[in-house]
Symmetry: C2
Subunit: 589 residues, 2 copies
């Protein structure tokens, strides 16, 4: 079936059901960022494989919205499919809501699977288009996708308190404290990373995200966890029983929620609209677990530092291998990514990659979230640069690191761009700022050196990172524009955030350098509490494209001190030959 056939199939079904527009998010029942294969109907239907994108199909048009990270990739993958690319946030491009409002008349039917659409989105459309009929119970992929994958059934396990740093019972007590504060009788929790954090459980139900498909309903004296209990071993089931957590079948939440009386606290931006429609009375608030989870405890921080040393050993070995091997061996983007994965797998307590490795050579690196396919894969040569954005989840933490490796001669322009990216990354790493700042206050530190050159990167500068969890998490981030309807959280000690400015020149090159930072207390005085960052990513930043004379003294000193630390922490895990190379790659400049 090609894309046009699939669209025809969908439109036949729409005509039969008298539907004018069918909306397809990239979403599971839990508003997860990455979704299991069962939920990848948009990718199957459109051929666009990026992780972010939503579609609207009408009887005459099909449109796909995605963000700046994916413009180039989506243009290529949608060519010839009849699907129009809608570049989000670009001038003149309607939002999904604006598009629907323009294209739907009174009594037209807009349909979607309400379990995959948030309550907020549905509410917005109801208010915007009161004359349009909204149908929320149609999952077309059940009918038009012949070999749709099954829902996942991976095994799940519990984290010991030594790994989580905080017992489930303590976390439940904190959630109940928040419920009291907001006078809630129940809390409905549906976001998978919040559930994994709260119950100290991990699984493998979504690629790269060690979560367990589940829902929870919590009152002051009851906890119901809706999950396929066969995923757990007997010890885990006994633990839940002992601690009064009742396990109920995964889908039973939809019938249970109807029977609940009292005020239900939930996050209407994240809970699916079907569930909210079944609630009698809600208190719409951010999940308290989101902030609790973002502020890592001392155990999580200590373990995460350790995960970054293991991850840094893998990346350092990869760098040493790559820069030498590319001179005489046949290496491609995919084989390089495989090599790096193999090096990570050698590390103790490695669980899985934290996301699909991005290994983009030369102009491929300009595609911000490029993922090589058999078709696109190219051989690396001893020239230009390879951008590698990758990470691992270990039993002690999750990592996210980008390095752009210099494989041979690069142009002066590339060196200027590389140096500006590095300057931005360093300036943000060195920041000291008053408590109360959000990412919008800090973004210009990383982005400024590029803006000075008239260059921007069309994405944020940084995101939170989960602990043995999702590689992207909130509620804090670093970006220059506020997200609509969302207030980024104030930085608190214990929050981890990435620092990843970049340059993306279409058809030419892409550069990104990414370290992870822990937010720490720097000093408290009459002005308030000053915070600063501790860099925890431990791998060399390729010096071969750095124009050292363009670094300020403080930038240069910080870089040299960082590299000295990388050598100290990573070299004990290397052989003599590798040590010598690491010494060179971490040389003071």
């Amino acid at each position: 079936m090609n894309i046009l056939d699939k669209l025809n199939e969908l439109r036949s079904l729409m005509q039969a059901e008298k539907i004018s527009a069918y909306y397809i998010p990239t979403s599971d029942f839990h508003d997860s960022e990455y979704v299991g294969d069962y939920f990848k109907g948009r990718a199957w239907l459109s051929g666009f494989s990026g992780s972010a994108g939503v579609m609207v199909v009408t009887l005459s048009e099909a449109c796909l919205w995605t963000d700046g990270r994916y413009f180039i990739q989506a243009e290529e993958q949608l060519a010839g499919t009849s699907i129009q690319l809608m570049k989000m946030m670009e001038p003149g491009v309607p939002t999904v809501s604006e598009y629907l409002k323009q294209h739907l008349q009174a009594n037209d039917v807009l349909a979607f699977d309400g379990r995959c659409v948030s309550y907020e989105a549905m509410k917005e459309w109801q208010q915007l288009m009161p004359e349009v009929v909204i149908k929320t119970d149609l999952d077309v992929f059940d009918q038009i996708w012949p070999d749709r994958p099954a829902l996942p059934s991976a095994k799940a396990f519990l984290l010991s308190d030594e790994l989580s740093g905080k017992a489930m019972t303590d976390k439940l007590a904190a959630v109940r404290e928040s419920m009291k504060q907001h006078q809630a009788d129940w809390h409905l929790l549906t976001t998978l990373d919040d559930l994994a954090w709260l119950f100290n459980m991990r699984g493998d139900d979504v690629s790269y995200s060690p979560v367990v498909l589940s829902y929870a309903l919590i009152s002051m004296d009851e906890v119901m966890l809706f999950v396929d209990e066969t995923k757990f071993d007997e010890a885990a089931k006994a633990f839940f029983k002992e601690n009064h957590v009742k396990l109920l079948p995964y889908f039973e939440v939809y019938s249970k929620i109807e029977t609940i009386s009292g005020k239900i606290m939930l996050n209407g931006k994240r809970v699916n609209s079907r569930l909210v429609q079944l609630c009698h009375e809600i208190i719409d608030l951010d999940n308290p677990t989101t902030l609790m989870k973002a502020i890592k405890n001392e155990t999580e921080l200590t373990n995460t530092r350790n995960a970054h040393i293991k991850d840094g050993v893998a990346v350092s070995k990869f760098m040493i291998w790559l820069k030498e091997a590319v001179q005489h061996e046949t290496i491609t983007e995919i084989s390089a990514a495989d090599k790096l994965e193999a090096l990570r797998r050698e590390q103790k307590d490695f669980l899985e990659l934290s996301f699909t490795t991005i290994a983009g050579y030369k102009e491929h690196a300009a595609l911000m979230h490029y993922s090589a396919t058999a078709d696109s894969d190219v051989e690396l040569k001893p020239e230009g640069m390879l951008l590698v954005d990758s990470g691992g989840t270990y039993l002690d933490g999750t990592t996210d690191i980008t390095r752009t490796f210099v494989l041979g001669p690069v142009s002066d322009e590339i060196k200027r761009h590389y140096t500006a990216v590095l300057k931005g990354m360093l300036r943000l790493s060195m920041a000291k700022f008053l408590h109360g700042c959000i990412g919008i206050n800090l973004d210009i530190l990383a982005r400024g050196p590029l803006w000075e050159m008239g260059i921007d990167y069309r994405c944020g500068t940084g995101h939170g990172v989960g602990h043995i969890l999702n590689v992207h998490e909130g509620p804090h981030d670093i970006r220059w524009r506020a997200r609509p309807n969302t207030i980024s959280a104030v930085f608190e000690p214990g929050m981890i955030v990435t620092n990843e400015p970049g340059v993306y020149i279409e058809g030419s090159h892409g550069i990104r350098i990414e370290n992870e930072l822990i937010t720490k207390c720097s000093e408290t005085n009459e002005y308030g509490t000053f915070l600063a960052f501790e860099t925890i990513t431990m791998a060399p930043i390729d010096l071969d494209a750095v124009l050292a004379d363009q670094l300020s003294d403080s930038e240069r000193n910080f870089l040299n001190a960082y590299h000295a630390q990388v050598y100290t922490k990573i070299s004990p895990f290397l052989n003599e030959g590798e040590k010598a190379m690491l010494k060179h790659y971490t040389r003071a400049i």
Copy 2:
């Protein structure tokens, strides 16, 4: 009458009227920032002379709220008055609303003059304390302030199009365009600077602010301007008549508004609650004139640059005089301020100072908005520093400039602080940034060098400046924390903003360096439109406290280029001796 007597007088009146709490803002009928003498009841009652502060008096307590600029001054002036200082934004200090909520019981009466309190504030209190009786028609100062000044009756005049750059009729057309867009039948405008801008009129009804007490009601075919028409000459009256602007008595707006049918567009945050209560139907929006006024036209920009040269000549002459004369003459804070005023008055088309000159020597400069009085005035010595924040309004524009002059030896700590302030001021001046940025994105450029030292200044970094108008205007600003319920405007080409980081060490010293910047288009490319700043303030920055080795190359180059420009523009207006000194003060470092 001392403060305690005045409070007793007020409380007797409150008891007679059965009032539990009387609220006293620092506000006129137009929510002006600086108010005429008639409206300075708070200063008269409390003895606190700062420009910002509100009071609540109950039968047993009296409290005064002010912001960080005034903490030190207020502490001194309120000592022994029984009035408690409430430090706004400090941890644990209740807001006015929280205080009222805590102290008022059901059926208690909260009273104030509704003409001096915004609709927003009154609405908030009604919602917060539905059980409290709110009385809005009591102006106690009519009864307890024996020698209350009269309302001002200064002459007013019209600006020619050569001075305003845009005819009143064009401005009215733009306002009507906005009214159409918002489906408004009427627009009620009450903010004096907006009125002055819209009608191209200027006057002298508020100290330092060349505005005219007035209100306007505008429909698609009518314009009513409520103003004491004796303020205008016959030509002005004829001009208004020709252009169908009907002049009506100032207070008549209160009876007229009751007769209006149709939707009235107004800014509920700024219009007084008495007026809004008299409206039948409102559309609550920011005044369209606020943004229009902030984006200066080419005439205004050209004229403003010229005003800054004249102002720079006065400040440069002052600096040359001061640094020499302090070695052997008797100079005090007040006499120095007088000298500077005299130098400004020598300049062509000078109208008045744009605010009270702040001339603070040594530790007085730590009081952010210090204004010397006969009691506080001190003699300057050839040591330490004098902070001078001042400005003028000329027929071609309004200025605001701060320089901190080195009068003799200063400590190494002062030099470190001075250099950090300078670095911040320069970094912000050099910023290049994408259109879409607000001040919150940029603030850390100015504040960062101080934060690095664990120092903060408890105020914003910059504000808009009016054109022959208020020295403080919005809707843009530069600050790191969002103001509650206010969204700062995105920077647009043509906006003027101040750049004034500082260090304030209580009991020791204060440093502020302030230039004004024009926002300009830098380049437009595939990433969007990049903006940058043009520095228009033209006076030397005292180099005698600069630690040159702490400036980066780009900071040093920018400073040297700025000083070269100051010399080029200012020296033609100086005598030979002054030129030589200016050459020295603008030397490259």
